[in-house]
Every structure is written in structure tokens, then in C-alpha cells.
Symmetry: C2
Subunit: 242 residues, 2 copies
């Protein structure tokens, strides 16, 4: 029953995540002239699509691997490998998203990394790289003791959730910034809410909704790998004490 | 010892929170011409100061009332009243911050609520109003059963953390947007990183650092009111099971 509800939740999350990617792609294709990999503004258009796909949707999915009831029984190692591999794929998409915007800036002689969006975004990517490397070294390689893993696990979960929150913040400030850049036409400015603005604003809210649901499943839901030593096996992380 | 570390953490949080407010105020005073309450752009300048003070700093402080070791002994009601009162004060500052921007828009004939920053910001304020009202009705008024309170408490904590995350996202997109609005001078654009841009970008990162530390204390730290029924009394919320 609980597992059934989890998979229902997964379907909602899967649909929301797919919509985030599809909406961002449609925005870039329909209003911003589509895609290329040639340093032009059409290369920039890969930036939002790859960042939303990598830093938000795939990152979110990769974070929830241990919430799958399938992962609660049997050896944990295959699930750890899946968790690390999906995050590595998310990181690869993220780096490609950065290449897209840096090459566009180089090509158009635009300064790199001046806006708050870019400062926060690059900080988030650096945090992601540190989190993945430390996670790999401590939780996947065999040298770390059980004591060290237990000590660092809540920090790993907390920091993982922080990175997702910062990714969403970067995406929102990025969409906002892009709309101010491109909707400057005096007869049809951003403030007149043309269809592109309504569509892209809605895409931003979809990304927020997806991220908050992922954080719910990650931090507050009762779907967890049961602890063999626990007296109760379905206690959510955020179950505060009265 | 643990309590000593908590108060050390509180000092760091207090300093960071004060710096967020002081930096925002200094930005508006030194580079944006200061404050007034007359519908002009100087009235707008209250908007970032009041939102950072209300939706981030005071909201964050109010969220951590039950993490104070002082609150762990004796009756809970006075702490509940303090928690609700501080959040009500945070909400009042927030509403004043909204009045500042709406009156400025009215005065300058600027459309309300078109940017993604404003869509997300107003959604966050509506969530805050719902959270406060439901929290007041369920956790402060005496009618709700212990069962209902226990059921809704993790949702209240999760939703409270979401609202803080969304506030930070709104603040970051707002600072980014404001800098693109005002640093348009051809000889000194935002992209040339004049001192105002460096200062305001840094203020944004300070707000992020403050928010992440509050979320750590709220969700992942071991500082919690001990549950009289618990076998262990210092288990952090984010302590995942191996």
C-alpha cells in the first residue's frame, strides 16, 4: 500500500520532471530560434535545457534512488553504484550546459561570470563536484569505516538537498534574467506579459514544484530503507518530536 | 557542551543575519539614494530591506525557537507563542515590503506582478500566510488532538523549510533583476562588475549562506527538544539509516 503510493508519487514526479525539460526545450525552440553547437545564441539555448535536465531533473531522480522500495532489500552496493552513476550523468549534462554558455560568451565577447545568477550557479556546480567526489571516496570506495560513514551520511543528505535548492534558485534567476534580456521590445516588453513570458514564468514554477516534491520525498516522506537496528522501520526523517 | 556549541552557532547565525540586513540597507542607502515612503524609487528601496529582514532573517530566527536548549525544559506553550509572534512580526515586515513595491509601481505606472521574481515572491508570501494561519489553528489553539498535531508536525516543519528556500530564491532573483535594471550605463554596465555589483552579488551570497545554515539547524542538527517517549534523546532529523 505504502509502496503503491510511492510509485504513484514517482509517476507524478516523472511527469513533472519531463514537463520541466519539455517546456524549457519548447521555449528555446519556439521563441528563441532552436539549437546549434557553434558559439552562436543558438548554442546558448542548450544552456537552460542542459541545466534543467542535469542539475534539477536528473539530479533529483538520482537523489531518490534509496527511496525506491526495490532498493530496501538485498545488497546496497548496486544501488550505490546506480546513485553515483546517475549523479555523474547529471554532472556531465551540467558541464555541457556550462560549455554552451561559456562558448557563446567567448563567441559574442560577453564577460563571463558577472551576474549573481552566474556566481550562484558556478558555486552550485563546484559544490556538486565536491559532493560527488567526497561521496564516491567515502561511501563507494571500501576504505571508510562504518563509523565514518554513519557520521557523514546526514551531512551528505543535507548537502545534497542544499545543492538541489541552489540549483532551483539558479534556474529561477536565470529564466528571469533571460526574459529581461530578450523581451525588451518597446511594443511587447516583459511587463506586458507576452505569451513567451507567461510560458517561461510557468516553466520556472514547474521547476520549483518538481524540486519541492523531490525534497519532500528525500527529507520528509516515510519511504526509507529500513534500518536493521531500528525499533520502528517507517519513521520519516522530518518526524519531529512533540 | 552541545548547548555551548549551539550558542556559538547562534552567534554565527546572528552575525550573518545582521550582515544580510546591514548590507542590503547599505546598498540601498549608498548606491540607490536612500529611503522615503512617498511612492518614489526611494520607497522601492524599502522593498529589498524589508523582504530580507522579514522573509529571510526574522523568519529564519523564528523557525529556530524550538532549537534553543532553553526551550527544551518546562511548558512548551510560551515557546509556541514566541514562535508564532516572531513569525507574525516577520509577516508584518513582509507585507510592508510588498506595500513599498506596489506603491512604487502605482506611482510610476509600472505593471504589477509580471516577472518570474514577482510570481515566485507572491506565491511564497501566500504560502507563508497559509502556513502561519494553519499553524496557529492547529498548534496554538487548543482544539486539535495530539494525534492530529503529531500527524501534521512534519508537514509543518517541511513546509516551513520550503518557504525559507523559496524566500531565498525570490531574494536572489530580485537582486539579480535590480542590478540589470540599474546598471545599464554603457561605460559602467553590470557586466563590468562595478563596486555596486560586487557588493550586491556578495549580499546575495550572504543571504544564501544564512539560509543554508538556518536549514541545517532546523533539519539536520542534533539540537532538538527531547521527546519524553524517545529511547535516544539526541537524534538529528536528517539522520538517515544505513
Amino acid at each position: 500500500m505504502a509502496s503503491g503510493r510511492f510509485y504513484l508519487f514517482c509517476m507524478v514526479l516523472g511527469s513533472l520532471g519531463s514537463m520541466c525539460i519539455l517546456f524549457t526545450t519548447y521555449w528555446m525552440q519556439y521563441w528563441r530560434g532552436g539549437f546549434a553547437w557553434d558559439g552562436s545564441v543558438h548554442m546558448f539555448n542548450w544552456h537552460p535545457v542542459l541545466m534543467v535536465s542535469g542539475m534539477v531533473v536528473l539530479y533529483g531522480a538520482a537523489s531518490l534512488v534509496y527511496r525506491l522500495p526495490l532498493s530496501w532489500v538485498g545488497p546496497k552496493l548496486p544501488w550505490k553504484i546506480l546513485h553515483a552513476a546517475l549523479h555523474l550523468l547529471a554532472f556531465t549534462l551540467t558541464v555541457m550546459g556550462l560549455v554552451a554558455v561559456f562558448q557563446f560568451h567567448n563567441h559574442s565577447k560577453i564577460t563571463h561570470l558577472y551576474s549573481l545568477h552566474s556566481w550562484l550557479g558556478i558555486t552550485t556546480v563546484i559544490f556538486f563536484a565536491c559532493q560527488w567526489s567526497l561521496g564516491f571516496a567515502i561511501f563507494l570506495l571500501p576504505w571508510a569505516s562504518q563509523w565514518l560513514r554513519s557520521l557523514l551520511k546526514p551531512v551528505h543528505v543535507y548537502f545534497g538537498a542544499c545543492i538541489l535548492s541552489l540549483s532551483i534558485t539558479s534556474v529561477i534567476s536565470g529564466i528571469n534574467e533571460k526574459l529581461f534580456f530578450v523581451l525588451k521590445n518597446v511594443t511587447m516588453p516583459y511587463s506586458s506579459l507576452p505569451s513567451e513570458a507567461v510560458f517561461a514564468n510557468s516553466t520556472g514554477l514547474l521547476v520549483v514544484a518538481f524540486g519541492l516534491l523531490v525534497l519532500y520525498v528525500l527529507l520528509a516522506s516515510p519511504w526509507k530503507r529500513p534500518d536493521p537496528g531500528a525499533l520502528t522501520d517507517r519513521q520519516p526523517l522530518l518526524h519531529d518530536r512533540e
